[in-house]
Symmetry: C2
Subunit: 246 residues, 2 copies
């Protein structure tokens, strides 16, 4: 059913650097003919997912309803949010919950304290799993073969000088996460950012999400991160697991 596929592509074409596009720009960005792009855009406008002043097209807040359909169906977010808030109140550092989508992590709950990263994180933000503490926890929850397949497909770029990019080394780290029960990263995603993550499991023990605490490197050493935050983080994760339905 290609119309749906193409239509969704059109929506996604409106990214960070192109909030507004003309018909032709959309056509170029999606690889569609201008005629097709026009039909999709007019339909999106008709449905109120997009606006146009006649020349420029842009998305409306209505598209958030689509993502919201997922989030509100995910009882995890509802259950986790108060516990993430409590943890933040307790440790005074930012905390989040993320799930895995292929080789990316996707934030589903986020409670920031002070600004910590250069890039703003919100619900829906994605990062490559291999370079994040939550990602490694989530990968550790998969079958070994699955992990290897995902890593093989990813291009393991060095996002900072400290990023682990060697596949074998990553597999070793993930194995360690699996045995220890938590993951720590030291400025592997962004300089100055340290993070500690633990898994959230369903009743059958399957890892369904990860929860983290992140802190600024100058303020918190790796040893502090583990000593001060691991226990509260594990407790918060346990409370979330206890509240999960079924």
């Amino acid at each position: 059913m290609q119309s749906l596929a193409r239509g969704l592509e059109v929506v996604r074409a409106f990214g960070a650097e192109r909030p507004e596009m003309t018909l032709s720009e959309v056509a170029k960005a999606t690889g569609l003919s201008r005629a097709s792009a026009r039909r999709f855009l007019l339909t999106l406008v008709e449905l109120d997912y997009a606006r146009t002043d006649g020349r420029l097209f842009s998305l409306t807040p209505r598209v958030l309803e689509l993502g919201y359909a997922y989030l509100s169906g995910l009882s995890l977010t509802e259950v986790a949010q108060p516990h993430v808030e409590d943890l933040v109140a307790r440790v005074h550092e930012s905390s989040s919950v993320a799930v895995l989508d292929r080789a990316d992590i996707v934030y589903v709950v986020r409670v920031p304290t002070k600004r910590i990263m250069t890039v703003a994180i919100s619900v829906g933000t994605r990062f490559p799993a291999y370079a994040t503490s939550m990602g490694r926890v989530l990968l550790a929850g998969l079958e070994q073969a699955e992990v290897e397949k995902l890593l093989a497909r990813s291009d393991l770029a060095a996002l900072t000088p400290l990023t682990t990019t060697d596949p074998d080394e990553l597999l070793r780290v993930i194995a360690e996460v699996r045995s220890k029960g938590y993951a720590m990263t030291d400025q592997e995603l962004e300089a100055g950012l340290r993070s500690l993550a633990v898994p959230i499991r369903d009743r059958r023990g399957k890892v369904i999400a990860a929860m983290n605490v992140s802190a600024q490197a100058p303020r918190v050493s790796m040893i502090q991160l583990e000593r001060e935050f691991l226990a509260p983080l594990l407790e918060a994760a346990a409370r979330i697991e206890a509240d999960l339905p079924k």
Copy 2:
């Protein structure tokens, strides 16, 4: 272009109370024939926006990318987030930014402190504009005729005993918001919740969003809300406006 329209309907059919559905349930929820529902669902699975175990279908985190296309294009979120975080650090109450979509407000930035409402709010959450402080600020930013049209279309339900539901009274309140430059609500959306909101305007003076501070009724009186939080909130909004591009 009905395929796109119907496909998006299918995505939205997965709401809070139906995270998982069978083919027939989806058909019933959307009004499509079972055959059509099947084609859309299989396409969504193919595109990785949905999963299935053969019988039950559910959405994947990938659908968040669609909403994210909107959010990341909205420079407002990026600009506003650090200022909202600063405000929360300063006043120790939850703060948010929302935009208007027809007669609803939609949260685009949210920084919670302690749990304040029974229902979890996240980016993408919607509430009827008429019953919220941010909604009234946003309505006050529209043409009078537009406001009247929107209110006429809404069914003004009493969400709490204190909700203003009389259309004429609401128009009066909105006029007052327009002249005062801010809106306050006292437990009109949910019992125990008070909220104060101010507009965020673009360079041309057009109201593009609203920013609020909300607090629990037992802890903060309406007078306190105004005395203690109005100035910091106005300052934060002004800083956001100053940072807006162009």
